[in-house]
Amino acid sequence: MTALASSLRGTFPVLGTLSRGHPMIYLDSAATAQKPQAVIDAMTRFYTQDYGTIHRGVYQVSERATLAWDAARERVAHFLTAATADEVVFVRGTTEAINLVAESFLKPRIKPGATVLVTEMEHHANIVPWQLAGAKTVPIPISDTGELDLVAAERLLAAGCEMLAVCHVSNALGTINPVVELCRMAKRHGVPVLIDGAQAAPHLCIDVQAIGCDFYCFSGHKVYGPTGIGALWAKREHLAKMPPYQGGGDMIDLVTFEGTTYAPAPRKFEAGTPHIAGAIGLEAALRWLDALDRVALRREEEELLAFGTGLLAEVPGLRLIGSAREKAGILTFVIEGVHPHDIASILDHDGVCIRAGHHCTQPLHRRLGVQSTARASLALYSTRDDLEKLAHGLVKIQRMFN
């Protein structure tokens, strides 16, 4: 059943280590994913054999770094099914991507107080940047199962807003949002759409052209890549019109003390020496993913999610949060009488790694009427055994406190 997952585990060195003296059961992949050996090796190779900076050197290691950087951009474009690599901007991660769009795309278009439509399930990264850019964030409500209210969405779009910003997959509920439909609705109202793909990129096959959005972004560290790198995809016509975000080397055309002209996109948005090793690691991660049968893996994940959902349902006092029909591998829950922090801590003592807290979704937690929750999240190396260990621990914890 999870034959693929089991065969993959060996390529993730961290999964073979001990945690608190027990074999590590890593169930926090929605926070950050572990890295396959291929990704680690790509970066080590860069730093030990080929290290140089990009663009400005004619010597061999700089030439190689430049070609690798360009190849990484091509790889990201392919991963997102983008029309061209020029539509891909390298950033630190999803958070920076959204800040870039808020600052360079939204801010020049709006008066302070203009509305950006978000959802009740958004990550702080898809709320705070719009607020910092001077907008008011207005949420599309969700149902108790964790699904977007599309009727309300239509109404709110009709009421007028400058932007729609919505996650493709919720990091707290697992909900897969109907982004194609949302984009179609927004288009009818002339509203540009940003899709936060941080949680979708590791689970789904992405096609930004089929989705019909204006902006799409994700973080490298959640798709088995390194920290400090991510990508923003934007329609070429938007990038062409947007002013630069940060200023510095490599994003300029001509600098004088009186004023400066800028390079064309995407370079216009990539000031300074970038995270070259990060792009190389991300390229390796996406190449590694590309070589897998992602459709089969998605099916396995659905089966694994169903299996885990069943197991957790049997834990006395446990309430699962988020039961959308379309859902990625995220299991968020509370246990009557036990604080999520204690759940995570006690599981940790047995080597089981899950997350407790608000998962950077305070407004969602307020909507759900809970202070915090516990969350176990799956990746393509997750197995039934992981979930059995989790359920076993939860039963023990439930007994400890009741």
Binding site: A356, M400, F401
Partner: protein, 151 residues
């Protein structure tokens, strides 16, 4: 090798389930609210300190994990009836205990149950939250009342 018993001792779970002095005071002389933005935990603390600088009553309320709740509960039990300097000293000892610094464990009495926290740096904040709020309550009011009872 770690076991859950190390940190979640029976006395801790018992206090978390039935916290002592879990109430607001009607006329506290000192008060402080604390919140840990990372985990959302909250503690609200009332103290009554008499003219001699003795903590005659104490009450807390809040949301939090078992460690923070039990720690606040056992703190209230431990410092009730103590003078302010004694409470401060106990804080120092407790802080040393949960951060793995050497201290006189006997002087801590039941509080020694929290020794296991030292192995989990991420949980030190939980175990000390009530204590920090207590220290702040005492500090804060000292400024407001320069002729008050604390030195």
């Amino acid at each position: 090798m770690a076991t859950s018993d190390e940190m979640y001792q029976a006395v801790i779970i018992e206090h978390a389930r039935s916290p002592r002095n879990y109430k607001p005071l009607v006329t506290p002389t000192h008060h402080c609210d604390g919140r840990n933005p990372l985990c959302g935990d909250e503690v609200s603390l009332d103290l009554t300190v008499d003219a001699e600088g003795r903590i005659t009553d104490i009450g807390f309320q809040g949301q939090g994990c078992a460690i923070s709740k039990a720690s606040a509960s056992m703190m209230t039990a431990a410092i009730k009836g103590k003078t302010v300097p004694e409470a401060r000293e106990l804080f120092e000892r407790f802080h040393a205990l949960v951060t793995g610094e050497p201290t006189d464990e006997k002087a801590l009495g039941k509080l020694v149950a929290f020794k296991g926290v030292a192995a989990y740096p991420m949980r030190v904040k939980c175990a000390t939250m009530g204590w920090h709020v207590m220290m702040e309550a005492l500090d804060e009011n000292r400024e407001k009342r320069p002729n008050g009872s604390e030195q």
